[in-house]
């Protein structure tokens, strides 16, 4: 049961983690994240890195689509902009890693703002179609601006160097990716405690009254696009360091749909939803693969017979979530929490 939560100051009531229990759990989570690389093998570190990159990009899309209500299918393309920017900066200029990532984020933010301009006129499904244009146009640029992107052959990215150490294994990259992920998530959570985040939600819920109440629509929508693309750009930059090669085919439209599915499965308009959705979408196919592996000793032909079923099961799980928990995984978590807040009394 939730007790001893009385606050004495407004600042304490506005805190992100407002009870001692929450702060303890958060500390435990951080400790677990710090210990994880020492306990896990290469394979799990690889998955953790990939999941963290997806979490960043999904959180960006969640700010745009979940919180501001602007449906976008351009997120993968903006990741591509970030990835190419980082690849060019790393391979040609050899600037420091953090500067490259910042550059990737900022260039993506600029490009995202340009493709966000139609959002003032079109909404919903129409905006989604308009943002597909970003996917096609940017793919064309990646493939044909050969002097910078080297066309279809792509750019090979040297490993990130941090104080002279080459970050060339998932273990070493983990220490770059995970802190950035945590910082960006805290930033996103902070955003929705301030006027900027409130304006995003107001635009989503009632854009016309929001304007009459003092919120400039164009600026708010473009800020949201810029921020979502910044997150995408940083994620794309980390992706470039992670896979070490960037080609025009690295960021297809399908990835945008994957990211959109992640926020829907996780829960639109909650930070936790973005995290859960991205982790679910990245790891569940791998878990299913592992499951097939477990069965193999008993049933040697399992891989042959179950592999196609695996994809079907994954698809069915997504459909199941949409039907039984349209608010996403985050809502399931909230319900669990509510149960324990009231326990031993019945909800």
């Amino acid at each position: 049961m939730r007790i001893a939560t009385a606050k004495e100051t407004y600042a304490a009531d506005e805190a992100l983690f407002d009870t001692a229990v929450q702060r303890v759990w958060f500390a435990i989570l951080l400790a677990a994240l710090a210990l994880f690389p020492f306990l896990a093998d290469q394979y799990w570190l690889f998955l953790a890195g990939l999941a963290a990159i997806n979490v960043i990009s999904v959180t960006g899309l969640n700010i745009l689509t979940g919180y501001t209500g602007l449906v976008s299918l351009g997120q993968a393309a903006f990741m591509g902009v970030g990835a190419y920017t980082v690849a060019v900066m790393e391979a040609r200029l050899g600037t420091p890693v953090l500067l490259n990532l910042l550059g990737g984020g900022l260039v993506a933010a600029g490009v995202g703002m340009v493709f966000g301009l139609p959002s003032l006129r079109v909404k919903g499904l129409y905006l989604a179609i308009a943002t597909i244009a970003a996917s096609f146009i940017l793919h064309f640029v990646f493939a044909n601006w050969t002097s910078v992107t080297r066309g279809v052959s792509g750019i090979n990215v040297p490993p990130a160097a941090f104080f002279g150490m080459a970050l060339d294994t998932p273990f070493k990259l983990y220490w770059l990716i995970m802190p950035i992920t945590v910082l960006l998530l805290l930033g996103a959570a902070n955003l929705f405690r301030t006027r900027v985040g409130r304006a995003f939600i107001a635009v989503r819920d009632r854009d016309i009254s929001a304007e009459v109440l003092g919120i400039p629509l164009l600026r708010t929508k473009l800020t949201s696009f810029a921020l979502a693309s910044f997150y995408a750009g940083v994620a794309g930059g980390l992706w470039a360091y992670f896979f070490r090669v960037v080609t025009p085919e690295s960021f297809p439209l399908l990835l945008s749909i994957f990211l959109l599915a992640a926020i829907i499965v996780g829960g639109m308009g909650t930070i936790l939803g973005g995290i859960l959705g991205a982790v679910f979408m990245t790891l569940v196919p791998e878990f299913l693969k592992l499951l097939v592996g477990f069965v193999t000793p008993v049933w040697p032909d399992a891989a042959v017979h179950l592999s196609p079923v695996r994809t079907v099961v994954f698809g069915a799980m997504i459909v199941g979530f949409l039907i039984f928990e349209p608010q996403g995984l985050a809502e399931m978590w909230r319900r669990t929490r509510r149960f324990f807040h009231l326990w031993p009394f019945k909800t």
Partner: protein, 283 residues
Amino acid sequence: MGADAAPATPVLEVENLSLSFGGIRALNGVSFAVQPGSITSVIGPNGAGKTSLFNSISGFYKSTGTVRVDGKPIDHLHPPERAKLGLARSFQNIALFRGMTVLDNIKLGRHAHMKTGLLDALFYFGRARREEVELRREVEERIIDFLEIDHIRKAPVASLPYGLQKRVELARALAMRPRLLMLDEPVAGMNREETEDMARFILDVREEWGVPVLMVEHDMGMVMDISDHVVVLNFGQMIAQGTPREVQANPEVAAAYLGTGDVADLRRRVAAETRLPETREVA
């Protein structure tokens, strides 16, 4: 109020305001003023142009004519800039943000007066925190206490009953640092008790905050009880204005609301046109 020899500058002046939608003139040469510290009501039958008038003053509709706030024309300003000047309003069909709590809805009203930028917001500690805590204190101590909604401050607005939602809308308008409070049907659909509460809050806002009120309302009992000045619209024209007593005595107003002419004659004409065999006279 404002009966002295040298009249103060009106808080809001509307001069010759006209608005057309295609061929329909929603507003036609409407002029009136809201004096400091007064409660001004706009009344009129359905479709008279009351809400169009509000939307024109807010800058949401592009109208011709002049709107002045504290003597300065604001025709070139966009809606958010007008909101920043203190044209705070509530809406006829409640326009709260359903995804936010009561507290966040109220805080949103202050948006235009806050300075937190994107970077401050992401970082939070420092400037953003200071501004948020300061706002929280003011909202709690001046608005939530005043409107007696402290028990619902963390509730999502979608879960609240209608009367409380209306009160939260008033709270949000108060958070906008109002120079003029524009209320579009503040008591529509309320029962007698809720109406009396709202009327008391409106009078208290005027007394304690010194903010003049401009409201559209259909509840004639309330309009006549608390207004200092009444403006009557019909088919986009202003047909009368004055004190509640003057407006009530005005035959044109009665005609607009109740209709005119000889009832028996009208019946005969209708009967002739629809070729009914005969119409019975009903007492």
